[in-house]
Amino acid sequence: MLVIRPLQERDLDDLMTMAEAAGKGLTTLPADRELLQRKIDMAQASFNQRCEPEAGLFLFALEDTELNQCVGISGIQARVGLDEVFYNYRLSTTVNASRELGVHVQTPTLHLTNDMTDTTEICSLLLSGSHRQGGNGLLLSRCRFMFLDDFRRHFSEKVFAEMRGVSDARGLSPLWDALGSRFFDIEFSEADYLTGIGSKSFIAELMPKYPIYLPLLPESAREVIGQVHDNTAPALRMLQAEGFNFNGLVDIFDGGPVVEAFIHNIRTVRESVNRHVLIRHKPLELDVPAEERVMVSNRSFRDFRVTTVPATCISPDTVSLPPEVAEVLEVESGDLVRLAPLKDGGPLPIHTAPGQSR
């Protein structure tokens, strides 16, 4: 069985293995043991509410209970830009017009902003190669929306994700080469790495503060602004299906887009329902295709658990769970759990009747 739970001390080795396999592309999880240890500590402090709510870093592990191994990770940063400065470029338009000469010129312009400051970010998604099937990526990503909605007071109304921008097989980014490297004499992969270990705002201090007029950049750089890396296209589609949209901001290094949504508008949130648990000892076929499964969360802040069960388990008032599922979710009969479809267009849990509380 695959289950989502808070990241723990014992996940360090598995995390290190995954980060090493992922290589340079994954900015937020560099293969650095000390750094990963720090992240685990922060996650533990966050789930146990031992840190300021704004400092919360909620990291979720996807555990394969048969292998007793962490095979994936995803995260929520409660607020960005409070400790350090969080930078983006806003892609906007400058118009210069002269009626006298009949000239009207629109110039796309990048403005440096801190617009995402104090906003919740979803981040750090990584799934081990061996488990990239059967909707595991969706579970890892979407479980976060159930957490966000159940514990809204810990987060901002809006959440966002920074999508990885375009770089080639050698790790060279056209935007970095045309812009960032003119101000900071290192390669993109190194800048990206420094970002991952928390030095992004240091680099940003060296970046241009005045607006950048795009016609001054080469074509190769202009065309990647707001575009995602090929490997990130599926993740972008998934977020778009959830209702996330490009908000006009791009990464200051590689030009990757920022997408955002209000929590109450996120599809997983809108389509989820709550049901009381009914533990059923009658054998149940759990192994059904992803299309027919739904996510179940135990709605616990400190011991958050999510797994998937067949949609057929849901009835108008209850959800029937086999004892082994109830055990990993740490729930008993009568507890209220939350259900949401795993796949886009997947079976909806039976709709909440009007007036019924969720």
């Binding site: 006298e100 000239v103 004499d185 007029y213």
Partner: protein, 338 residues
């Protein structure tokens, strides 16, 4: 013999020829159409006749006259106040240090800031001369006569002076600085923009020029090389202005990136070394070759002459000198060494 005097309506034909000769290769702030030139002459005539700052923004044009042939071979101008009541546009070259203590990095970043700081300084410009006269005494006469005019009418002009020097243009007429920067915002080629700036009000510059500072490192390598560099053809003009005490500061032209030279009016060599004397008729042989200017406003004349000095601040010159200056014996003149 050469003489510099205020422009007159009758000079229009000669001026059109000069502006045309100068033409596509060299930009001058002189208008290129007949209509605009005529208007400019009229403006100058009114300025010499007594229109004064602050009610007016006087713009003076002087011509270099070949007295033998009665032909105009050069023109030079002074705008009493740069911008003539409107903003005067330049880029100011400045630098920022982008430093990170944590990363141990410090980097100099060159930036061009749009600037109006030179507005209302006195501007020398509209300089054009027949190519064969470049580097001759006549060339020096035309350029420096303006400074003697300023010396004789000092209160009409500002504390500081500026001159825009033409920037780099390739043999096929391309202007690298413009092509890398201005073209994107003005959506026109350099010649068109240059023509408009000679003809129209400066409003279009305010409307079309990018309002934010420009990072030099984002310009094309050719544009970066051209920044603050004078066109090779301006070498003689530059040399003369530098001798006068003009120096390149931090400002460049917004169109071609050419340097803007600056100076304090009262420390210009011509102003410092010139003297007010009486000029008397006398037969002399020999003496010093110098610049000699006489009379005020529209009667201003300036020539090259050989004069001898006597006691009591009196200069002696033969009759033809007085004739060329159109003044009587005993008149007051300003004299400056070559």
């Amino acid at each position: 013999m050469w003489r510099v005097r205020p422009v007159q309506q009758g000079d229009l034909k000669d001026l059109i020829k000069l502006a045309g000769d100068h033409g596509s290769q060299v930009s001058s702030t002189l208008p290129k159409t007949e209509e605009a030139l005529a208007a400019r002459i009229e403006e100058s005539v009114a300025s010499f006749a007594g229109q004064r700052f602050p009610d007016h923004y006087p713009r003076f044009l002087f011509v270099l006259e070949d007295l033998g042939r009665g032909q105009v071979q050069g023109v030079a101008g002074i705008d009493a106040r740069a911008g003539n009541g409107q903003p005067f546009y330049n880029y100011r070259m400045d630098a920022l240090i982008h430093a990170s203590h944590e990363l141990g990095v410090s980097r100099r970043v060159d930036v061009l800031y749009p600037s109006h700081a030179l507005t209302d300084r006195t501007l020398l410009g509209a300089f054009a001369i027949a190519p064969k006269l470049r580097g001759t005494e006549a060339f020096e006469l035309l350029s420096r006569a303006r400074l003697l005019f300023i010396a004789r009418h000092r209160e009409w002009f500002s504390e500081r002076m500026v001159v825009e020097i033409q920037g780099i243009q390739t043999e096929d007429g391309k202007v690298p600085f413009w092509d890398s920067l201005g073209r994107h915002f003005f959506n026109m080629d350099f010649d068109t923009a240059d023509r408009y700036s000679g003809m129209l009000s400066k409003t279009f510059i305010a409307e079309l020029m990018p309002p934010n500072p420009i990072y030099v490192t984002l310009l094309s390598p050719q544009a970066q090389e051209a920044l603050a560099q004078p066109h090779p053809m301006t070498k003689a003009v530059m040399a003369l202005l530098q001798q006068e005490g003009f120096h390149a500061g931090h400002y460049v032209d917004i169109f071609d990136g050419g340097p803007v030279l600056e100076a304090r009016t009262d420390t210009l060599k011509t102003l410092v070394t010139s003297d007010r004397k009486r000029l008397r008729l006398a037969e002399t042989d020999g003496g010093e070759r110098c610049l000699l200017a006489a009379s005020e406003g529209g009667d201003f004349r300036c020539i090259l002459a050989t004069v001898s000095e006597s006691l009591n601040d009196v200069l002696r010159a033969p009759p033809e000198v007085l004739q060329e200056l159109q003044c009587e014996s005993g008149c007051d003149v300003t004299v400056a060494p070559l």
